[in-house]
Symmetry: C2
Subunit: 209 residues, 2 copies
DNA sequence: GAGAGATTTCAATCATTTCTGAAATAGTCG
DNA sequence: CGACTATTTCAGAAATGATTGAAATCTCTC
């Protein structure tokens, strides 16, 4: 691997290339996770440059329209992963990304739980309540006083259905509780837990093949 | 809440309704996570009915085309969350979902890591290598023998860039390692870890507000 | 409070993903 | 084999989601 001295111009170009690569990779990833590509790219750009940029900077660098830039920035603000900034003597608004990667993903986790898992959990509970009240009392206390079960086979199907629903419910409740642990307190939670879990101390828990 | 005795017909109807609700909720969720709605619905249907269904059952119940059903089933097989089954004296293929919720999500986690995080990690490494070789040696050993740095400001930008890239890299490597832990050994991993983490023993680690 | 940006909104357009249906292929049985 | 059934494929249709651009709205400043 030879030393290849570079002129500042070359260095500059390489830096921009690296940034573009990062932005592209991040955008790719984002779109696989149900986030619009552009939104992910804006986030990536703000993160990797590290400095506050205004709408026009972003439009230019990412070649997107003003409307698109505005909406993406708004969405990122809602997610809590970027913040506003101002430069004195400049009427424009600038935006900067949270520079702590763990904070950033904690925010994302929190929002996604709130937007996707919580509603699912609500639906599951609702469904469970309905089938529970209307269909069965599981192996409930008031047993024996249920109106004559004229179809034991149906009864069993219903019980099994409820059991499956319950498994799913318990799963998501655990996930919910876990993510609370990671997300809630000031900053540590997630990073510490992750580091602990992957540390040598845990090595006995999950030996790879 | 009054006891409302129901005829078997009503019970049957309620069961089907509950199944439909579950399927809808699951499909919704799926589509928010970059999985096609139909694919998630097929999985939900197979899970909640618990019994092996053939392509025609699925087409009818979900009102989708044969082609769509075929492709979704194929994808689910690839993901490893459903399996084939056969009924004697019947030439059709039947499909059934893994009935263990934790196994199911372990499979999903494994696939998603493989398909989305691994490539991202590869890109990040590639980008890092490039900027590293071409641009800087960080605060590397061979300091002082670098060709005269004619632009210290640029030099600093590049170093910061590399630092940010490294943070991101370390983050995803930790996530990768974590998910390995959860995913790799036979069955325990994830469930145990989750249960441990949410157990009272951990209560000190993440007090909620 | 009028003028000059800056920002947001939104109907129309464009792009991407998903779905269909029919044709092609594979598989089974006598 | 040949008839028949089940399954896969894939080009186009339909649905969904993202993006644009220009008009409307907001926010300063003087």
């Amino acid at each position: 691997m030879r030393e290849t001295p570079q002129s500042p111009e070359d260095q500059k170009r390489s830096l921009v290339e690296a940034q573009d690569g990062f932005i592209a990779a991040f955008g790719q990833m984002g779109s696989a996770w149900g986030i619009s590509r552009t939104m992910a790219e804006v986030q990536a750009l703000l993160y990797i440059t590290g400095e506050p940029l205004c709408t026009d900077d972003i439009m230019e660098r990412l070649r997107i329209s003003r409307g698109n830039a505005s909406m993406s920035l708004r969405a990122l603000l809602d997610w809590g992963v970027i913040s506003r900034a101002h430069k004195r003597g400049d009427r424009k608004e600038y935006f900067q990304a949270d520079q702590d990667v763990w904070d950033m993903f904690r925010a994302i986790l929190r929002e996604r739980m709130k937007r996707e898992v919580d509603p699912l959990l609500a639906s599951l509970h609702e469904i469970r309540d309905k089938t529970n009240t209307e269909l069965a009392g599981k192996s409930d206390a008031g047993r024996g006083k249920r109106p004559r079960d004229d179809d034991p086979e149906l009864r069993q199907k219903i019980d099994e259905h409820n059991a499956r629903l319950d498994s799913m419910l318990r799963f998501f409740e655990t996930i919910e509780a876990l993510s609370q642990k990671f997300v809630s307190p000031a900053g540590r939670g997630l990073k510490i837990a992750a580091t602990l879990l992957t540390s040598p101390l845990m090595a006995g828990g999950g030996r790879e093949r």
